[in-house]
Amino acid sequence: MSKIVFQHPRSLKHNIFHYCPGCGHSIVHRITCEVIDEMGIRGITIGVPPAGCAVLAYNYFDVDMIEAPHGRGPAMASGIKRSLPDRVVFSYQGDGDLAAIGMAESFHAANRGENITIIFINNAVYGMTGGQMAPTTMLNQRTTTSPLGRKQQLDGYPVKVSEIFSKIGGATYIERCSVSSPLHVNKTKKAIKKAFQCQIDGLGFSMVEVLSMCPTNWKMSSVDSCKWIDDVLGKEFPLGVYKDEIAALQNEAEAPA
């Protein structure tokens, strides 16, 4: 008897990814689709892709999707989720989308405790527009708009989204992961599953931040990009669970009145 141990996820369309070689988006797309399959939620999931490299996510995710204007994903997802509370609604966003132009929408969706999930790709640059400085760009990191490196006096500091969002009352589950190695990919998949389950259980706002490779704009090889996440980016943005109120909220719900 043979057993299928690896196959193309049902929720992932059979299109060739347009992403650059070594990019983390395709990995996160795939594991998210695997989670959707494993949870059996393809038919009730609605995704909101951002402006950015993932703008064409609807070419890959075989779930209902609506593209949001730059940064507005969490507002749009809030509108969908409040209208259809029994659907699983996620917003897929990059660092510029979430932490610059869409900071207000993301922050306040979290603060309202919107029962949605944000999958947040942090690759420390604006990828699609050609590698400009992002809110999460490292100090001294060279980009096309910080040619001498990011200087805190002029450009401010890398924005620590998971740390900040963990202090927001309405947020239930915040974890920072990475896709720099198979081990981390598996951890990210588990985190996305946990976030979706948090939403399905009606426990409120969840976000998974994923440190993700951008070899093209980092001007590194794919292997070096993974290493850079482990050695450099991951030091500035430590991996881990930043907030997890899931168990507490479940206990609260089960406790006798």
Partner: protein, 347 residues
Amino acid sequence: MSGNFVIGEAAIRAGCRFYAGYPITPQNELTEYMAEHIRNAEGGVFIQSESEIAAINMIAGASAAGIRVMTSSSSPGISLKQEGISSMAACELPGIIVNIMRGGPGLGNIRPSQGDYFQATRGGGHGDYRTIVLAPASGQELADLTMDAFDLADKYRTPVMILADGMMGQMMEPVIFKKPKPRHYNEKFMLRGAGDGKSKFIRGLLLDPIDSEEHNWKLFRKYEIIKKNEPRFEEHRIADAEAVIVAYGTAARIAKGAIKRLREHNLKLGLFRPISLWPFPEMQLRSLAAQVKKFIVFEMSTGQMLEDVRLALQGYADVEFHGRPGGAVPTPAELANVISKICDKRD
């Protein structure tokens, strides 16, 4: 009921079940009315958003989910919403945007104004699109046009703007709410999860220029149908008129007062009141030029609808203008005085 309340009640009766908004004077009573009342309707959702930008994107999301949606604001806030209005037009999402205009530009002031005519009728945001714009001039019309706006938005799958001003929003008039029409909106346009079927997507980004051009022509063809089918206007004391005032909204009410006074002094004046500002009732106005050789445009602005009037009349009649911008509201007596001078000067 105050005008702002009327819009809210009419919207709920028309089946609006999702409202998002941000406080701004002089439309706050509408947001407050929705906060209190929309939740009483089954499935009704109210969100006080963190910004106008968030509000328009929230209603876009709810609209995609197949819900009847509305947001409201006043001039500076409507500028912020333009990104989302353009996006809704591109994605063909129905929705109602209420603009209770105040003085501008910039923060301007909180007095009634009509300075947003260009913004409303020329799309307002980026790109080649239009929104249907309805301009009520009474409490009753606030009720009727709000209900109609939902039907038009669904019919043409496009954002519809109710363009009123602080005077309309704040004044009180008795109103009878008509029976709303049943909603006809095809489920195939709704994004509610794929179920066992094929997944759908809604997008405004078309990277291939051939696709993008065709999408623009598709929208254009839709706008041409709207231009043919949906112009609305009122004619007042036109039959024997020798000169006609063209005004909308609050300005049209002031004009009616001025006409009444001037007719007592044997000036044969009438009023042409566009109710739909886009589509502008240009053919209907042009046909009047066979009978009337002088038109006086009156707006609470420095002259914006004036351009549409000139385009419609194509030089077949004289066009004069009187305006008060920046939140100034003339009395009927003041307007009557100005108009009698305009008529004396030329006759």
